[in-house]
């Protein structure tokens, strides 16, 4: 891919459009907050001095540390606030998402009286630096902290699933648009080998490796990505080997008749099938079958939402194929791959980005909706959607509706705005 060309075309768009610049700046800010979350919202102080020794608990991965033969538990949660230190600097929000503040337990609002029970039984108003600025949940988790740490999940699910979707969508869409039904030619023996390879690959990937694959689905995380990626890799590699073998036989025995491989029809059919399956319902059903995890969510959203990207890519490649520069590329004998990846792609990339960014918004919406109804996502992680879910039974807790809802809205709004602004540039 021609990176320099792509970069200059993006720079041009950014220079011309003020709204887009602002949106991207806001998005960068949100991303920075997500990366700095442990230092913005943490129940451990950033710096504290205890018995003459300087500690940096928020930057440490240790579980405990010994000072004067006294063990200090780094995971003591809320007790950090009452620890008698010589001085301490807390993060702006001095709670982790899983810190439970039992004193302000059943839903204290931002303007309610928040209290702190001392060890001697006294109860004092909560000091300003420990205040719950956006209130607490049913169990006493700090809402602001949950929101800050929730960015990570919303951003991550969107970006990783769209990486998968963009990879699939651009590849298939470009192949469908560029070759159409008549561009790809395949020998008879090659075709036979292709069909055999489907059965063989099924055997290899889903019979021999069945246990490992189901293990990946059950454990989730990186292991799931590895298993699915490896399965795909095996499939593609074997298909290429089989195709190569078929080609070799074709050439050896001089079979000159060649078939058109209808890649356009195949891709369009797959798009139609995938579009007709309701994504949300499929994720819900899959979550009932396997253990729900965010990596599974990413994979499913990625594998279901490439259709929009593929459609636009196909249309753009169809248009680009007619243009003079592609004809001249062909005239000087350039290979198909080079034309597709290095000459057409940089020219159409801004337009392909539109469905990708809309897809980001869609993925965020799906994740938030699922955690809102509490199906298909791990329930021990507090996300924006699950905060909103708590408000459903208690309408008096307006802070549980307003703040998480606004967060989801803002992220989706930024994505949509970026997509609309890019699409204006043609």
């Amino acid at each position: 891919m021609n990176l320099k060309k792509t970069y200059t075309s993006f720079k041009l768009i950014l220079q011309k459009n003020r709204v887009l610049r602002r949106c991207i700046r806001l998005f960068t800010f949100i991303t920075c907050v997500a990366f700095l979350a442990p230092f913005l919202a943490n129940d451990k102080p950033l710096i504290c001095k205890y018995k003459g020794q300087l500690l940096f608990p928020a930057f440490s991965y240790k579980n405990h540390v010994f000072i004067d033969n006294e063990s200090i538990n780094y995971l003591m949660g809320k007790d950090w606030q009452t620890l008698k230190t010589e001085f301490s600097i807390f993060p702006p929000c001095s709670y982790s998402p899983n810190t439970i503040d039992a004193d302000n337990a059943p839903r204290k609002g931002p303007f309610d009286n928040q209290i702190m029970n001392l060890k001697n039984g006294e109860s004092i108003p909560l000091p300003i630096k420990f205040r719950h600025w956006l209130g607490t949940t049913q169990n006493g988790n700090d809402v602001l902290s949950c929101l800050i740490h929730g960015i990570k999940i919303s951003l991550g699910v969107g970006i990783f699933s769209m990486l998968i979707a963009a990879l699939l969508g651009i590849t298939l869409g470009a192949a469908a648009g560029y070759f159409q039904n008549t561009g790809l030619k395949i020998g008879y023996i090659q075709m036979v080998f292709l069909i055999i390879s489907i059965f063989f690959n099924y055997f290899l990937c889903f019979v021999i490796r069945a246990e490992k694959l189901s293990d990946g689905f059950q454990s989730g995380g990186i292991w799931l990505f590895y298993q699915i990626g490896f399965t795909l890799y095996l499939w593609i590699q074997n298909t290429i080997i089989f195709l190569w073998l078929g080609k070799w036989i074709d050439e050896k025995f001089d079979f000159n008749n060649r078939l058109h491989f209808p890649i356009d029809t195949i891709v369009l059919r797959i798009i139609e099938i995938l579009n007709s399956i309701p994504t949300l319902l499929l994720i819900i059903a899959l979550s009932a079958i396997t253990k729900p995890s965010f990596s599974l969510l990413i994979v499913i959203i990625g594998f279901l939402s490439w259709t929009g990207i593929a459609r636009i890519t196909r249309a753009e490649y169809l248009k680009a194929k007619q243009l003079d520069y592609v004809t001249s590329c062909k005239a000087i004998g350039m290979g198909h791959y080079r034309i597709i990846a290095r000459h057409i792609l940089p020219n159409v990339l801004p337009l392909i980005l539109v469905p990708v960014v809309f897809g980001l918004a869609g993925a965020v919406l799906i994740e938030a909706s699922l955690s809102f109804i509490g199906v298909g996502v791990p329930l021990d992680v507090i996300t924006w959607g699950s905060l909103l879910n708590e408000a459903r039974e208690h309408f008096s807790a307006w802070w549980l509706v307003l703040f998480p809802g606004l967060c989801v809205f803002t992220l989706i709004f930024i994505y949509n705005k970026i997509a609309v602004e890019i699409s204006k540039f043609k």
Binding site: R269, E272, I284, L286, L365, S369, R392, F395, F409
Partner: protein, 389 residues
């Protein structure tokens, strides 16, 4: 026209087939043995049974539910595995057996073998019917595990509510957004068009669950304003026995307002924007100038001539909006506790009732496919050029 319709219809058969395959893969991978829960709950009646009786019952139920059949028309297995491995249903036993085969199989573990079973298989029985099943083509989705009723009997009422809300909301969305779109196209730089564009875009970015909870909090909350009932679809006591359809509708009306707002608002932006762009494209064309020169009123030109010619993209939108309404209803139904398919799915997941879940997925996919088909037909009806290709 008819040959075109037939061609489209034939193309939809492979799509439907693929959707049933996906549904069946999900169904056959569901954890747990459905027979186990059936036999155990039958057993809770109190009669003491020996282990052997239980085993007999299980075998009986397996035969009744067709679970003793192979999964598909053919299977690709390892050469070292016996042909009838599918008959072992006890999961721990199967695991042991497979581990044994893996140890003793040697090179045969890596050689594929295709076994042909013919049409006596679970998939065929599930789709086309067989012993004790009429197949999903005739509307038989099996028996619900938790309720012990035919799935289709449970889903029938639910489907009506879901479809009612989706169709009414689509009609509402078109009814509201086409006039807005036309007004926006008429004067693209006016204040109205800029404001409506801005607000519609804001609404488009609002997640439906946020709007739903917000609406409930504002309008169904005794602390703020309590005009609308918070949940359900009909009065708690049910309708009167001798109530007519109209009075039932009037009784249910307050329950429908908030959900319908929720269903409708997000597609407004999309449809009105599309109407505006396609009509403003039409307005640049020559035939509009002719119409103006003829002395037709602006109203006639916009609503009759321009709208008719820009109907094509609006139909396309129908096929993109409809699946969203069917699938997205899970969220709205569970917020407002509407007894539709979405809420039933969430309930079924909770009680591990897989036949219902799969039935919902298959049904809504099939509905979506038919909506595509309908859109295609409408397309061909509006634009005769398409039939020729």
């Amino acid at each position: 026209m008819w040959s075109y319709a037939l061609k489209r219809l034939l193309w939809f058969i492979p799509t439907l087939f693929a959707v049933t395959i996906i549904g069946f893969i999900l169904l056959s991978n569901a954890p747990g043995d459905p027979v186990n829960s059936l036999v155990l709950s039958n057993n809770s009646g109190g009669s003491l049974q020996t282990a052997k009786d239980l085993e007999h019952q299980k075998i009986y139920w397996r035969k009744q539910l067709g679970l003793d059949l192979p999964l598909f028309y053919f299977s690709i297995n390892k050469l070292s595995e016996p042909d009838t491995l599918y008959k072992i249903k006890e999961e721990s036993l199967l695991k042991q057996f497979k581990a044994h085969i893996k140890l003793t199989g040697g090179y045969k573990n890596y050689i594929p073998k295709i076994i042909w079973y013919g049409h006596h298989n679970q998939y065929h029985r599930w789709v086309f019917g067989g012993t004790n099943s009429r197949g999903i083509v005739r509307g038989d989705f099996g028996i619900s595990i938790s309720k012990k009723e035919p799935v289709i009997a449970i889903l029938k009422d639910k489907l009506i509510w879901s479809l009612f809300f989706s169709i009414v909301s689509i009609i509402l969305a078109y009814g509201i957004s086409i006039p807005i779109g036309i007004k926006m196209a008429k004067s693209p730089d006016s204040r109205f068009s800029k404001m409506s564009q801005f607000f519609l875009f804001l609404m488009y970015s609002m997640p439906s669950f946020f709007v739903g909870v917000l609406l409930l909090m504002l309008f169904a909350n005794p602390d703020v304003v309590s005009i609308f009932p918070p949940s359900g679809i009909k009065p708690i006591g049910g309708y009167d026995d001798d109530a007519s359809l109209v009075s039932k509708f009037i009784d249910s009306l307050p329950y429908m307002v908030l959900p319908l707002i929720c269903y409708t608002y997000s597609s407004l932006a999309f449809i009105s924007r599309l109407t505006a762009t396609s009509i403003s494209e039409q307005l640049r064309l020559d035939y509009i100038k002719t119409a103006k020169a003829k002395g037709l009123s602006e109203k006639t030109i916009l609503w009759k001539h321009a709208l008719k010619n820009s109907a094509l993209p609006l139909i396309t939108v129908f096929s993109t909006v409809f699946p969203g309404v069917v699938g997205g209803s899970v969220i709205i139904e569970s917020i407002f506790t509407i007894p539709g398919m979405g809420l039933e799915t969430v309930r079924a997941i909770g009680s591990h009732d897989y036949p219902i879940v799969i039935a919902v997925i298959t049904l809504s996919s099939a509905l979506t496919i038919f909506s595509y088909l309908m859109a295609d037909m409408l397309y061909a009806w509006v634009d005769p050029r398409i039939r020729k290709t």
